[in-house]
Subunit: 75 residues, 2 copies
């Protein structure tokens, strides 16, 4: 699995787990909703700062998001 795809799945799963919409995540992270959608579909990859902003909005640690991605990639 591609890293972007794995990150997108982790992002969506965490957002759904937190019961928030893409619009709410976009608002909380001060990012554009369409960017959130593209990240979730693995069409864009996040920068370091975007990872930190998304983790904060999802009330988790950036390293936690990344370790979930590692699990999906079986690293």
């Amino acid at each position: 699995m591609e890293i972007d795809k794995a990150f997108g799945e982790v992002l969506k799963q965490k957002r759904v787990h937190n019961s928030i919409s893409q619009e709410e995540l976009a608002y909380l992270s001060n990012l554009d909703r369409t960017f959130i959608s593209m990240l979730e579909r693995g069409k864009r990859q996040p920068s370091l700062k975007t990872i930190f902003v998304l983790a904060d909005a999802l009330e988790t640690l950036p390293s936690q998001l990344i370790s979930e991605v590692e699990k999906k990639l079986k690293l």
Copy 2:
């Protein structure tokens, strides 16, 4: 401290700990040496894939690099 600066410090500390030069890290990660230098000085920020490629070249996990950054930022 800025996230980019914190990542740069972590990257340099890990590279020096592994006793490899910027040239060697550039070779191992298939990235440009000047980009490595700018990352270490916090002048550029890495994308998700760059974080994974650098972690692999430094023989660590991406989540480990990110948690070191979190420690520097006291998250």
